[in-house]
């Protein structure tokens, strides 16, 4: 099941729990993600898949357990057995190693596509403006938006906005890309252009974690699929395992319901 290159996993998740008030959304998650792996999180609404993704870059603070990137504890510092929240600078450094793409794109409306992509490198990483701009132009060209780089988000379609958001995340030169339902807010005819960009990144060997409802995409692009149900990993394995009919009973039930619902 694991990539057996012998190298340590890039991301390790151990005993991760998250509660919102009295409701426990994640009930103990253990997962390893290897370099160059594309991992898909699937599951019903409320299964905890988005929360799990948001715990990875500490947008949500886990209630218990830990996330490590290359062995480094995320969001917390350890001193003499006690854990405390990391300072802003350290948290910033860790977060930009795990760039995130959101369901609602979340482009900054007062900045052009180009400025959106340049913001992180210039403001956070202190990359010289000319260099950041060259990098941003290259990335926008890569996602097919070179001609639209001076447009404000309000002038772009949803699919274009999401591609700018992907370029913005890539501009940080992250070690992992986190996608939170990247096509759920798109009109059906715009889904394809965004999924193609993500599939291209997979081919280039980018490590990615994708929360998705696009089962066909998960089947085709993900190396590893994790099925979450009521806050636990109910099943996981290769896309072939999950979608090829050899998953466990809960997986098959979910996929059955899901396909019924779709048709």
């Amino acid at each position: 099941m694991q990539d057996t290159s012998g190298a340590a996993p890039l991301l390790t998740i151990r005993g991760l729990r998250k509660s919102f008030g009295p409701i426990e959304v994640l009930k103990g998650i253990d997962l390893d993600i290897a370099r160059r792996q594309v991992v898909g999180f699937i599951g019903a609404s409320g299964s905890g898949k988005s929360t799990l993704l948001r715990c990875l870059n500490f947008l949500e603070e886990p209630t218990a357990g830990e996330v490590r990137l290359e062995g480094e504890l995320i969001g917390l510092s350890e001193k003499g057995g006690r854990r405390a929240r990391l300072g802003a600078g350290e948290l910033s450094r860790q977060r930009r190693q795990m760039a995130m793409v959101f369901q609602q794109f979340n482009l900054w409306p007062h900045k052009t596509a180009l400025e959106n992509v340049m913001e992180g490198p210039v403001v956070v990483q202190k990359v010289p403006k000319a260099e950041a701009e060259a990098r941003a132009v290259a990335l926008l060209t890569k996602v097919g938006l070179a001609e639209r780089m001076h447009a404000y988000p309000s002038r772009l379609s949803g699919g274009q906005q999401q591609r700018v958001a992907i370029a913005r995340a890539l501009a940080l030169q992250p070690k992992v890309m986190l996608f939170d339902e990247p096509t759920s807010a798109l009109d059906p005819e715009l889904v394809g252009e965004v999924l193609k960009v993500i599939a291209d990144l997979a081919k280039e060997g980018m490590t990615m974690v994708v929360v998705t409802h696009e089962m066909r995409f998960a089947h085709q692009v993900c190396d590893q699929v994790v099925f979450l149900d009521q806050g636990v990993i109910a099943d996981m394995g290769t896309a072939e395992h999950i979608f090829g009919g050899t998953g466990n009973r809960r997986t098959l039930e979910f996929l059955g319901r899901y396909l019924d619902h779709r048709n």
């Binding site: 795990m98 007062h110 992180g120 404000y152």
Partner: protein
Amino acid sequence: MQPAYEWDFSIVLEYREVFLRAIGMTLTLALTVIVCGMALGLALYLVRAHSWRVVTIAVTGIVEVLRAVPPLVLLVWIYYCLPILTGLSLSGFQTAVLALSLYSSAFYSEIFRAGFQSIEKGQVEAALSVGMTRSQILRRITGPLAFQRVFPPLVSQCVLVVKNTSLAGYIAVAEILYQGQQISIRTFRPLEVLTIVALIFLVIILPLTFAANALEAKYRKKYFG
């Protein structure tokens, strides 16, 4: 039958120097109060939004009291009571700046609060995910966005500040209304003088609101096509 009132605006010309100096005083006072009030209002909002619960409750209380007290009471109270309580004696101008800044800061802080609260959480999360710190987010993302959204009420509040400067006359600050009253006492021409005072306020405020509307339309066109 009453004799017809004979309007005579010539006295206004006679006292034009006094009026000009009064306009200068009103503008100086208004500008100082706008700058101080806005800065204080922003500070009040930030403390209220990002502090311990006790501080938040205290600041909320201060804002509510400042909003409820009539500005004239605040002005007179600071002018007469502050020296008694603290031994600190402020000039009329300083008192007016302090009182009107405090008073308007409560309203500015509420306007800023509305602005910041209207910003979608996702905007902040996107900024956090690229590694921005709280202060970078405030300066580059939420600040500019909130400012644009609350621009119209912010301008309204500035207009109110300009008008409220006329209260400073109560403690003998030589602004427009105060000087107008002095002139009308001397000339027995209150109607002419008050008319001119009203016109001066119109001439100060209308360009302000026109400029604000034009600026807002420009922003809207630029970002939201």
